[in-house]
């Protein structure tokens, strides 16, 4: 069997298209590359959805935390503490079993026990809390002069937020937010190890890497392949977010533009 056939068979295996049976013996390098790569579909799916929805909630949370009314501020603070103060791994477990109990109450909650929905919700809430803290920090760091200038021009309320506060906040927060996005993609690797079942062996990249490591008892092939894919993913995230960063800072003089700087924080 040529490598191309393997790609045809297993390229979309993680979403249930193609050959049903996973390879059981005589593992080739091509099979490992294809299946682990196919698993990346899940990592990208989780990451993109959680980021896309989380962006809006995190801004809401950040605004909530900087609100003067305790009735709004306290829930936002607790939300951030709850999700930043506990391990994502435990959050996954807790959410999965909570969803299982909900399922007993009403069958409408059935989809939540699948990784595709349930895990996405947990990741969405988790990233909202982390990014909310980042945006909150950026809100606090908006130069006083910008807001005073807005006042002087009579720009108030919603208009001030949309024209002054929000763009400045986004620009200040963007490097840190890029890191958060990268870590979120890394965190997606936890999903299938924390309660959520991989239905019909449709798992993410780490799931397949672990499968091969267990079967061949040789960790030195599948995990470097996984690392290769994740480094590729990280680089694409940096490229995309860097392009947005350039757009956000396009009006600033060249040397004062904040550069994207990768900081290390890989576990959550």
């Amino acid at each position: 069997m040529s490598c191309w056939d393997t790609v045809m068979d297993y390229g979309l295996r993680s979403i249930g298209i193609g050959e049903r049976l996973l390879p059981r013996s005589d593992f080739t390098l091509c099979q490992q590359f294809t299946l682990i790569g196919s698993g990346m579909i899940w990592n990208i799916y989780f990451g993109v959805l959680a980021l896309a929805f989380g962006f809006f909630l995190s801004i809401a949370v950040a605004l909530g935390k900087s609100s003067a009314t305790p009735l709004i501020r306290k829930p936002a603070e607790w939300f951030i503490f709850l999700f930043r103060g506990s391990p994502l791994f435990i959050q996954f477990f807790f959410a999965y079993f909570a969803f299982l109990s909900l399922k007993q109450v009403a069958p409408i909650f059935d989809p939540l026990t699948s990784a595709a929905f349930g895990a996405t919700i947990v990741l969405f809430l988790n990233t909202s809390a982390y990014a909310g803290e980042i945006f909150y920090g950026a809100l606090k760091a908006i130069p006083k002069g910008d807001l005073e200038a807005a006042d002087a021009y009579g720009i108030m309320g919603w208009k001030r937020f949309r024209r002054i506060t929000f763009p400045t906040m986004l620009r200040l927060a963007w490097p840190a937010y890029t890191n958060e996005a990268i870590f979120l993609f890394h965190a997606t690797a936890l999903v299938f190890f924390s309660g959520f079942p991989a239905w019909q062996q449709r798992g993410d990249a780490l799931y397949y890497a672990n499968y091969f490591a267990d079967k061949t008892f040789n960790p030195f092939v599948p995990y470097p392949i996984l690392a290769f894919y994740f480094i590729l993913l990280t680089l694409s995230v940096i490229t995309i977010f860097g392009a947005i960063n350039r757009r956000l800072t396009r009006h600033l003089p060249q040397e004062t533009r904040p550069k994207l700087r990768l900081r290390l924080m890989l576990v959550r």
Binding site: F81, P87, N218, Y223
Partner: protein
Amino acid sequence: MFEICADPQNLQELQWLACYLTSGKHILFYQSFGVVMLLLVITAPVSLGFGFIGASAARSPIAPLRWFGKGYTSIVRGVPDIAFFLFFVIALDQAFEWLRHQVKCPDWDAPIRQGSDFVVCAQAKLPLSTSPQWVHESYGFTLAVLTFAIVFGAFAANVLFGAMRSVPRAQMETAEAYGFSHRQAFWRILVPQMWLYALPGLSNLWMILIKATPLLFLLGVEDIVYWARELGGSKTARFSDYPHGDWRMYYFGALLVFYLLLTKLSEIVLDKLMARLSHGQATAAGEAQRKAAA
């Protein structure tokens, strides 16, 4: 545990709960919290040591040493930590067995990797198949600690490397002007001063380490996650004295609370430590303290 617990069927609600929560398996569950704390207490200094070695190597004038240090600090970038955990546990185990195999059975001629098997001679097995159960368990735990220390050592190396560079250059120049050797300046000037700059990064790392402890479960250690799954699952009257439904949600809720408390406690302690270290320093925090006192 208590006298009344001998016959759990006839107990009232509260008594039942008290007996249930003090059953033998629950005692093991409580002990596994100790395992987590033990892991934290051992891993933190060991990975700090690894980090220190890595950071010192990364600024060494000897090129291969520098490459090693730089390589070590950058391996953990870009790849999920959980992949490292899963990788290192098997890789370390096989590395140890392979080394022992080379030493103990030099005239073994069969290949070590036979298809999907990893075969070393019986004397090289770790732990030996004849050793008692506790040796097996502590070997597993040691592997887990070593894995944690390697991964977190790389994080710590990154933090310490940055902290060493943050120490004002003038301090080192003064040391050189006084005729300190390279080694003396490093140990007497750089190392004592770097901690202030390293502390924010290290406290962040401590928080991350706390939040990484449940990954012990993936390394095959019987930790709190293992017991929460074990005890929370529904039990029928046939196999247990305390039958109950699926309570895993509550067990994991309790773990969530445990971690939140641990985080809060650490925050308080680290804030105190930072305030103490900033005392008298020429930094914004130190300046604020001086102003508040004056």
